[in-house]
């Protein structure tokens, strides 16, 4: 790009004009959204920049309805202390009203506590632990996109139905892995199956899973459950293939970015659950095309797309309450969001339960064979749908204190 003197002079003239324009608008109320996500670690592709972009897209799609929206971005580095400190600063110093996306399970549990203490709002999308709407639930937190119960019910139950009645778990050794192993284990035993054993692998920092895979094989289990995510899961799948392990693998939490990274050659036939797929219906395709224009070359998985859905619903609630009222109390804002039904291109129509759980269908997919795939990112065949009212843990079983009250 070449800059002419005339253009430069023109810009210089425009600056004071813009400043005047801004001061004229300064009277408008501003709501602030903080996108807390993984911008530098193993979960960057699952959430990360694409989740930030889908939040911005929600703000753009919502349009101008009498108040301004500011989006802040932060990296929690998958460390609960860093995540909660950053969020404390956002709430206290920067006047952030709501935190979305909000990180993996360990970070999520920490941030949820901060939101309660400061009476602000928090909607988690990327985290998995079902404890967020169970024993650890609070009036300032919503859990949006998926949880370990949903994954267990969809993928776990499907594997048991297909004859996988004895399991061995390879578990990432932190809150998420433990919750996922527990929830899947419950389904397996309820269905008459058995859990033969498991190993907890250090997280983060494990790259070689072959030892664990051999232990899983030696246990004689019919299914190896991978209670991990991201690079851990892809390494497991890759190395199982290398070591000729024929025991079926259950990728209990897999995203489209993992399939993209491994390639269809390695992944074909795997069964997985997401609550969103870009090529599911006209609405998801329309959303994905809009997002693609902002950030080409990657298709969103459910955790990338979730913040779009939650941000849009937040903005609708702000409009319904009026920005001044919405900024006063996080608990009141969350209560307002629970009152309103949700409707967006990512999850279609849905509701939010008293315990903070957002309800929508879960989809069981099978990864296509390379020969079936028509082009880049054409990866899934839909195997089955769990309807919204069955996809998540019944409220009475969660022991959420809000529900008892």
């Amino acid at each position: 790009m070449s800059l002419s003197r005339r253009a430069l002079l023109g810009t210089a003239a425009a600056v004071p004009a813009a400043a005047t324009f801004r001061s004229a608008r300064a009277q408008r109320p501003v709501v602030k959204i903080g996108v807390l996500t993984d911008l530098s670690g193993v979960y960057q592709d699952i959430v990360g920049p694409l989740a930030v972009e889908s939040t911005r897209l929600a703000v753009a799609d919502f349009g101008d309805r009498g108040f301004d929206v500011e989006v802040l971005i932060g990296d929690h580095q998958n460390k609960p202390d860093i995540g909660s400190n950053l969020v404390r600063q956002w709430y206290d110093r920067d006047g952030v009203d709501i935190v979305v996306e909000g990180g993996s399970s360990a970070v999520a549990l920490a941030v949820s506590g901060v939101a309660r203490d400061k009476n602000k709002a928090y909607i988690n999308s990327g985290g998995a632990t079902s404890d967020l709407t169970g024993t650890q639930c609070n009036a300032n937190t919503l859990h949006w996109t998926y949880d370990t119960y949903m994954l267990a019910k969809s993928t776990g139950a499907a594997m048991v139905k297909a004859g996988g009645n004895s399991w061995f778990f390879i578990t990432a050794d932190y809150a998420f892995g433990h919750a996922l192993t527990r929830d899947v284990g419950n389904f397996v035993t309820q269905a008459g199956g058995r859990v033969l054993g498991g190993v907890r692998t250090p997280f983060p920092g494990t790259t070689d899973f072959s030892s664990y895979l051999l232990q899983a094989q030696a246990s004689g289990a019919k299914v190896i459950g991978l209670a991990n995510a991201g690079a851990d899961t892809t390494n497991c799948i890759k190395q199982a293939k290398e070591f000729g392990i024929t025991t079926p693998l259950a990728g209990l939490l897999m995203f489209i970015s993992d399939v993209h990274s491994l390639g269809l050659d390695t992944c074909q036939g795997l069964v997985l659950t997401e609550s969103f797929y870009w090529n599911l219906n006209d609405r998801t395709r329309a959303f994905s095309d809009r997002l693609w224009k902002r950030m080409p070359n990657r298709r969103a998985g459910m955790a990338n797309a979730g913040p779009y859905s939650s941000t849009l619903h937040f903005l609708k609630a702000v409009q319904a309450m009026g920005p001044a009222e919405a900024k006063k109390s996080g608990a009141a804002l969350i209560a307002q969001m629970k009152k309103m039904p949700t409707d967006d291109d990512v999850h279609g129509q849905g509701i939010i339960r008293e315990d903070g759980r957002k309800i929508h269908p879960a989809y069981l997919f099978q990864v296509k064979k390379p020969s079936e795939s028509k082009g880049p990112w054409d990866y899934y065949n839909l195997l089955g749908t769990t309807p919204a009212d069955e996809a998540f843990r019944p409220m009475k079983d969660g022991n959420c204190p809000l529900v008892k009250a």
């Binding site: 993984d38 250090p202 790259t207 030892s211 030696a218 690079a231 290398e242």
Partner: protein, 295 residues
């Protein structure tokens, strides 16, 4: 089935063998670190990032230039080694007169920058790299299935370690190198270009890391964090073996791979920690490391 300490024997043998495979990577990586520390007195924290660059270079050669695994095994170390020479000339050479800490901070910063740049362009979930066709398949050893490629990794690592050891211990270049480590000004006064030798040594150490990176590419997903996971363990290996000791780093690398492999059977949660427990014990008993000499 025969049992050893409550574990089925085949499983135990399998874990021992896997320990050797992982040990091969530790040995190759710590060898490069030991050479660099011995010669330059620099604690090269960028080693993990350069290992990762080796894997990405192999991936890039395949995807942008159609150059396969075997050429990559030769070319990637040369390319990344040349990059290392550049780093040494531009940055690291300015720090020789200062405390160790400055070199550590500089290389740590370089590692963060390199990893951040790669993450920015290629994301974090990794890129696929296939095992070369000649090494696909596996051997049934009776107690476990051994992938051919893992066998090749062990072989390649041992050959590379032996070559490096021979060059340093048995050739005249190696002799000059060792002499310059002891007393650089004296060696320079004999008309030997010590700064050039230092630069090339750094390049060679970096090339070893890149070589390990190419070996690792088909096993682990090629991702920006792959080196960061390794580097801390590899530092522990170097410390346990004795800072700067070539033989120490090779033997300790393989040995700790086996210790780690066994921990994965008996107490998986501790497998990331066991190496550091060993390090604490060794440092308490022999502060200079197993093969190190106290100065």
């Amino acid at each position: 089935m025969m049992m050893i300490l409550g574990i089925p024997a085949p499983l135990l043998f399998g874990q021992l063998l896997l320990g050797v495979v992982n040990g091969a990577f530790y040995a190759l990586m710590s060898l490069g670190l030991a050479i660099i520390f011995g010669m330059l007195n620099i604690v090269n924290f960028a080693h993990g990032a350069l290992f990762m660059l080796g894997a990405f270079t192999a991936w890039g050669l395949l995807n942008y230039a159609g150059i396969g695994y075997w050429w990559a095994l030769l070319l990637a170390p040369l390319i990344v080694g040349a990059f290392g020479v550049l780093l040494e000339r531009l940055f690291i050479s300015k720090l020789y007169k200062l405390d160790h800490l400055y070199g550590l901070l500089l290389t740590f910063g370089l590692a963060l920058i390199l990893e951040g740049l790669v993450r920015n362009y290629y994301g974090s979930s990794g890129l696929p790299y296939r095992i070369p066709s000649q090494l696909q398949g596996a051997q049934n050893l009776g107690f476990m299935i051994m992938p051919n490629y893992r066998g090749w990794v062990v072989l390649a690592a041992i050959v590379m370690c032996v070559i490096t050891w021979l060059v340093i211990e048995k050739t005249s270049i190696g002799a000059k190198l060792r002499a310059a480590t002891e007393n650089a000004p004296l060696v320079q006064s004999f008309g030997i270009n010590v700064p050039l030798m230092i630069t090339l040594t750094y390049g060679a150490g970096v090339a070893l890391a890149a070589f390990a990176g190419v070996l690792a590419a088909p096993i682990y997903s090629v991702n920006p964090n792959m080196g960061a996971n390794f580097i801390i363990v590899v530092f522990a290996v170097v410390v346990i073996g004795g800072m700067g000791s070539i033989l120490g780093s090779i033997v300790t690398g393989f040995g700790l791979g086996i210790v780690e492999g066994l921990t994965r059977v008996f107490y998986p949660e501790g497998s990331a920690t066991v190496i550091f427990v060993v390090m604490v014990i060794v440092l308490l008993a022999r502060p200079a490391g197993l093969f190190g000499r106290a100065h």
